[in-house]
Symmetry: C2
Subunit: 110 residues, 2 copies
DNA sequence: CGACTGCATCACAAGATAGTAATGCAGTTG
DNA sequence: CAACTGCATTACTATCTTGTGATGCAGTCG
């Protein structure tokens, strides 16, 4: 890790960030937001997640600083907080892709 | 994400990877392994985590491909699976560092 | 102001996860 | 082979997380 000294508190904070990414519905939300800003009702449409549930996930993503909120009259628009959010996702997906590829190869040569 | 099309199964797989990172004890384990390969009993020493608990965490890290195992007689040596594991951690720590710095700044100017 | 809309929050049930003591088991040593 | 060691596994409990229906609330519109 890039901190000089890792304390239990830091481990907990970092873990919390990772936890925000560790749920399929939240990843799907981030994936939809990747394209553009969306309102909550648009996200309900796009993802099929229930409104209350979605709202809670968005709160969680907010509190970890992964998404940004913009209120406009009756609507709340959500968007990705920054490009690093995608970088993290892509890095993890890259790992997974490589992994599945290697598994396929291992299968083939068996 | 870098996959052509994200399916529910893919979201679940990626989420599982993130979940492996989303626990303070597991992050601490990865942090210790960052330096070098360790046996389980060494990890118990270094981290203060109970043996049974540690063993379970190691299984979980294994099944997600984050660490590698090498058995040698009575001992089992664990090490990081690859450099990307660290890249993911560092990226997340970087985010956190920036975040705390900005929060500090916001505090100062208040 | 009264009905409506979009969203947040609450309360609760169901399922997942982490910690721990006890046990199992393979490999080592006397 | 009998005792021991390092680790994995099991069984169980406590805690956390997620999904959902109901409710609350601020902003909008007739």
């Amino acid at each position: 890790m890039s901190f000089a000294r890792m304390t239990p508190e830091l481990f907990a904070l970092v873990a919390e960030r990772f936890k925000a990414f560790s749920e399929p519905n939240r990843l799907q939300i981030l994936h939809v937001l990747r394209l553009s800003e969306h309102t909550v009702s648009e996200l309900v449409e796009e993802t099929g997640i229930g409104q209350a549930n979605l709202s809670k996930h968005l709160q969680q993503l907010m509190s970890c600083g992964l998404v940004a909120r913009r209120k406009e009259g009756l609507y709340t628009h959500y968007s990705l907080a920054d490009r690093d959010v995608l970088k993290v996702c892509d890095l993890m997906c890259g790992r997974l892709e490589r992994e599945t590829k290697e598994r396929k190869k291992a299968f083939a040569t068996k």
